[in-house]
Point group: C2
Chain length 270, copies 2
DNA sequence: TAAATAGTGTCTCTCAGACAATATACG
DNA sequence: CGTATATTGTCTGAGAGACACTATTTA
């Protein structure tokens, strides 16, 4: 606490080191607010040439034993006609945060807000967009296929595409690389969390969740190990319902509120 | 592969769905390049009001049994006089990537490039800067204290401050929160990697590294466990040198090239 | 009953935690 | 030698991997 006070003192002193000898406590309030008001009034951020700023989302889902990602076909230059990630510009009036921007864009395409949204990475350089220096803040999102299928079907330029298919396509900008990055990060999460469960319906079976993790990790997992760790961490609630897939019916679970934040201390084998 | 081709076809067809009946393969090349050229010529990104974009770095080091962060005192409005993170605007001419921007800013203050630099998080909202909608791409960086001490001493507005001291200060913008975020992330890394080692000199002892991890985690660690996992993963090179701290001299190690990327499958206790 | 899918029992092996024991400096 | 710090030995326990076994459904 004493270090705090002495730091504040240093701060104030340095700030007005070369100012006239008026008592600091008077000078401070006045000049500070005046100067700042003046500054903000004069300030026009357009005088600084700044990079183009966009927000993009890699929205995954799992449907019919297949990882899919939502793409939209570009209706504007540049890269007109190519498929790419849903995204766009920040609306300085309507959006309060960057998440608002992503959610708004995803809402337009899917009709709903994804239950999982996390910032992935910001990519910015001089070459990724022909218009010049450009920055995109990329997000990873997960949602159930059924929850938005009807709405997506009504949006002419939006479509769920299997990841394997997407890998062969010529996407806009560096969106192919961004998808790879998102997938790799999600693969990691599959090793130490059950975050991928957000790509399933609200209730799901354990074999279903395991299959999703296996698809992400690219390798089979031991049923026993998979169940054991989830049971011990008490991440799921047994709904009591069952779902049959031709054999013994499987128990239907839903996630506990905080299940997405839980991380196992020990990873699954890579 | 066939799905790839059919996708491309869809793409082209959709793109010119309402265009005249000229053969597509002719029409495509022409109109596409023409339109795009025109578009890029007309394009002036300043016509779109976009958020203010900055880059900031949380640069940590470990010196005298103490975690420190490099802060600079602001010499401009807004928040003039307050201490904050080193950072600034992208130089659209000189910087090719966002990393260039951070490295340039850190170079100015420390005289060197940090051996560890990783994107932390991008924070963007309407309130964090009085000038309006503002976005900062925050990075975490680590470097040795000695490597830059001399240069930092020559920079009047830059200073290493202990994290405990910083926690009590009134920093510019949301920099306090960004530092917390960076610290928390580094704490996590201390549980499953030896990334914190980049905050030490190029050669260091194991007790030294352990002390750093303990400072980050906020809890004592078992010497044996700590050494064992590092030895088994073969992350360090024994330089053969020793350093004495009053008792038995400790072996001096340096990191292998890829040691920073290694993650243990099993975390230390939280 | 056979096939299919779900779920369990149990052994092994790896590795972190605990802590005692030993090693090598300096005064 | 006594003190300080570094390094090792070794036991315990948690939890993942392997895989065989049991359970519950449909055809």
């Amino acid at each position: 606490m004493s270090s705090f006070l002495s730091d504040k003192k240093t701060q104030t002193l340095r700030q007005y080191a070369s100012a006239p000898k008026t008592p600091t406590y008077l000078l401070q309030k006045q000049t500070e607010t005046m100067d700042e008001k003046q500054f903000l009034a004069d300030y026009d951020k357009r005088q600084y040439d700044s990079p183009l700023l966009t927000v993009d989302a890699v929205l995954f889902t799992y449907h019919e034993a297949c990882l899919k990602v939502l793409l939209v076909q570009r209706s504007n230059h540049p890269e007109l006609g190519k498929w790419g990630l849903p995204g766009g510009f920040v609306d300085l009036i309507r959006d309060i945060t960057l998440e608002d921007t992503v959610l708004r864009k995803l809402q337009e395409k899917t009709g709903i807000e994804p239950p999982y949204l996390e910032q992935l990475q910001t990519i910015g350089n001089a070459q990724r967009d022909k218009r010049g220096w450009s920055v995109t803040i990329a997000y990873t999102a997960l949602m159930a296929f059924q929850a938005c299928y009807a709405h997506v079907a009504t949006v002419a330029d939006a479509q769920w595409l299997a990841l394997d298919t997407v890998a062969e396509m010529d996407l806009a900008f560096d969106h192919q690389a961004i998808i790879s990055l998102a997938r790799e990060r999600l693969r990691q999460k599959a090793l130490y969390s059950i975050v991928p469960a957000y790509a399933l319906e609200e209730t799901f079976t354990l074999p279903e969740l395991q299959a999703l993790h296996e698809a992400l990790i690219g390798k089979g997992l031991q049923k026993k190990s998979f169940r054991r760790r989830i049971e011990q961490a008490e991440l799921l609630i047994d709904t009591g319902e069952k779902r049959s897939e031709g054999g013994r019916p499987a128990a239907l679970y839903k996630m506990k509120k905080s299940a997405g934040n839980y991380t196992f201390v020990r990873n699954l084998e890579d």
